[in-house]
Every structure is written in structure tokens, then in C-alpha cells.
Symmetry: C2
Subunit: 244 residues, 2 copies
């Protein structure tokens, strides 16, 4: 892990870009921290870190307000990272059926999501190794947002993650329901009730499938990108309860 | 409206019992209020005020912490108020089918809930008239909890109620879904996901039916009576946003 830039944002938050091998990432640490702090891994949709930056920095500030560090890495095939042919094909297939108004088949969802999960999850684990070796990061670790299947797999395979906030707003391969049953950590699940691009019933079924004894579903209006401000504050409250 | 008792609780909360004609009620006002304060009407299940008192006083303290008064009245047919034959018959029918493991029919639900709604709602409106005439109560007014159908009808017919927190944990007559479509005020709906005595799908359908542009569903684990403490705090946050 190599830091490439470092700047203090106006509210004292320290923002450092890094690379982990070929993977770019960003780490934010609270300005005032004296002891090692808990960490929230900030997931995001595969739109590229640069596109996502304005929203990521809002979440990082929210984390810092609770005394937590926040970090994120670029997803495989996003931003400046190399594309791979199968993923490009799956995205093209998705665009085609959406444009034709056809239902999105399980085959397309699997091709779109499963290789991304398989590639991304070990990278987030490697990032966690590197981040937890920094003296300023202590733990515990939470995972928040992004592609929900990445969050599910991480919650199953990564014991250092003790709580996860998930956004039920993207396609979920059928096999992920089986993995969801294996999740036992506390979960805070956001659902945009009137998200036209999302299968509401699948999201409710997924919430039902999670094995966690503590799981909470927060459903709000406002469409896919219209998560209300108070929903973000309630998610921050969830992490405050579990990472402090 | 006639006050019958008055006591200061240890945290300064002023608790006054009152009668409104034949209806007993309780009013809690924050110890420190100088100007007229907003009001939350505390709904409750038809178990009698005396039985519900320990939970009601928790909610009243939560309201006072936000600077709000809280008030409640006895439901018709509960506590020391006279029973009526049709309601007793409906309760007996319900016990019989539940004991026999039979499904609860629409006829039983209608007989159980609709007369209660028809009788209770004008009483809550009369209580609101009396409470808002007190110099220490200003408004705006929220309604919280209790029999969800009472809350739905109140939200439709009572324009002084500007926000409602509802608990989707009791039988809902089919005709109430039509009334739910007419609700337009901000709603905060609690659902216990694993409430075995409650029809989860009906609760989700009801949430979908509400006409409100701002509506939030919070689903948690813990069974009918196991609403987690943080869910109460989030509901308090909802009222703080809408009554301040």
C-alpha cells in the first residue's frame, strides 16, 4: 500500500489517495483522532471512484463525525482499471434487454454480478489487511453500501467485518440468497420502495433470507438515487451502535 | 376536561390524569417548557391504560426529551370503560379461531376493528380539542402507535395531525386499505418482521397503499413486543423532524 496524495479537507478530515498494487483507493481519517479508530469500508456502484467521489466524501465525513476512518477502493473493471470482455458483454446484454423492455434474465444477472463479486471481494480483503496494519486504524470494521452482492459475500467470508449497511438497489443473483442465509452479523438494509429499476419483492425476499439475528430494513420513497438525508443519519447511528 | 391528579415525576415531567366526560386520560408536559409545546397523541393497544402505563410513560419521557407534550385516552371498551356486546363477541370469535388454528376471517377482523375505529376516532378528536385549548399546548400534533386502523382514520379525517408513527402489528380490515390511500401526511411505519401473530404481507401491502409522499418503513426482528430500543429512538427522530 502506497500513499500517492495527501490533503486536509476544510473540516480537518485527512484524505489520502493510495494504490494497492494496481488498485487505486482513498482513505479518510478524522482530524482529531489520537487513538486508533474504527473503520468503515465504503462500497459503491461500479461507476468509477472519480464519478462516485462527491457521494463518497459525504459518507466519509459522516463516518468521521462518529470518530471513524473510512476507506474505499476502485472496483475491478471500473474507473481506470482494465475492463474484461465477459463483463462488457454482460453490460451490453443488460442494456439491450432494458432498451427492449424485456425482463432481465437470471443468466444476465449472474454474468453481470458473480464475476464482479469473485474478483472484488479478495481485493477488499487485501485492502483490509493493509488498512489494519496502519497505526491510526484500529477496528472494529464495518462495510457500507455499494453492490449488495459484494457486501453479502464479504459479510460471509470476512470475520473482521462486524456490521454491514447494505443498499438493496441492485440485481441479486439467485445463488446469493443461499449466501445471505449464512450472514450472521448485524445488518442495516436500505431499500428505495419506489425504485423502478429494482425488484422490490426480490429485495424483501433477500432481507428475509439473511441469517442475522439483528437485521433492520429501512424503506423510503424517492427513487433509486433519492435516499433521504435522514436515512443516511440513521445508517450512521447503526454503525455508531456497532463500532464504538 | 377535568384534571383529577397531578404529580411531578423524578425527571421533572408533569403527569396529570384527566377525564373528558366519561373518558379517562393522561397528559404529560415537559418540566422545563416555557412556550406552548407540540403534542404527540400516544395510541396504544386495547389493553387498558393501567396495563399500558409503564410503556406509555417511556414514550412520554421520549417525547418530553424532544420538548413535546404527550397525551393519551382510554379506548372505548378497555380499562374501566363499559364493554359492548358486539365487541365482546368479536373477541370471543377471535380467541376461538386462534385456539383452533383456523385463519382469521375478514368478518372477524371487521367486527373486531371497525366499530372500535368508529367509536375511538371522534373521542381522540374531542381530546385534541380539549388539549389544544390548554395554554401550555401549542402544536403541531403528531399521532403515534396503537391500533393502526385508528391511526389511519385519524390521519385521514383530522387535519391537525401533521405526522403519524404507526405500528403495523394488528389486523387491518380490507376497507382500511382504501382509507390508507387517502393518507398524505408523513408516515413512519414500524413492522416487527418476525411477528407470528401478524400478517407480514398485509403490512407490506398497507405500507404500499399509503398515499403519503414521505413514508418510511422500519422493519426489525424481535417479535411482536420486541421492538428494539433504537427503533424507538428513530421514531422519536421522525417526530423531531416534523413537529419542531
Amino acid at each position: 500500500m502506497r500513499f500517492t496524495t495527501e490533503q486536509r479537507l476544510d473540516d480537518g478530515l485527512l484524505e489520502r489517495e493510495f494504490t494497492l498494487g494496481e488498485i487505486p483507493g482513498i482513505l479518510w481519517t478524522p482530524g482529531s483522532a489520537s487513538a486508533p479508530v474504527p473503520l468503515i469500508l465504503l462500497g459503491h456502484p461500479p461507476l468509477g471512484l472519480r464519478t462516485m467521489y462527491p457521494r463518497l466524501v459525504v459518507w466519509a465525513r459522516q463516518s468521521a463525525a462518529e470518530g471513524f476512518a473510512a476507506a474505499t477502493i476502485e472496483l475491478p473493471g471500473s474507473g481506470d482499471r482494465p475492463r474484461w470482455a465477459a463483463a462488457e458483454q454482460a453490460r451490453a446484454d443488460l442494456r439491450r434487454v432494458l432498451a427492449a423492455g424485456e425482463p432481465v434474465s437470471d443468466e444476465i444477472i449472474d454474468a453481470l454480478v458473480l464475476p464482479l463479486v469473485d474478483r472484488a471481494v479478495p481485493e477488499w480483503q487485501a485492502a483490509l489487511d493493509a488498512l489494519l496494519s496502519l497505526p491510526e486504524i484500529g477496528g472494529p470494521v464495518g462495510y457500507s453500501g455499494g453492490v449488495i452482492s459484494v457486501g453479502i459475500r464479504l459479510a460471509v467470508v470476512e470475520p473482521r467485518i462486524v456490521a454491514a449497511g447494505l443498499f438493496a438497489g441492485s440485481f441479486v443473483p439467485r445463488t446469493m440468497f443461499e449466501e445471505a442465509r449464512q450472514v450472521v452479523i448485524p445488518l442495516h438494509v436500505l431499500l428505495q420502495w419506489d425504485d423502478e429499476g429494482n425488484d422490490r419483492q426480490a429485495a424483501l425476499d433477500l432481507f428475509d433470507a439473511f441469517g442475522s439475528k439483528e437485521k433492520t430494513l429501512h424503506a423510503n420513497m424517492g427513487g433509486h438515487t433519492g435516499v433521504p438525508r435522514f436515512a443516511g443519519e440513521e445508517a450512521a447511528g447503526f454503525f455508531a451502535r456497532h463500532l464504538r
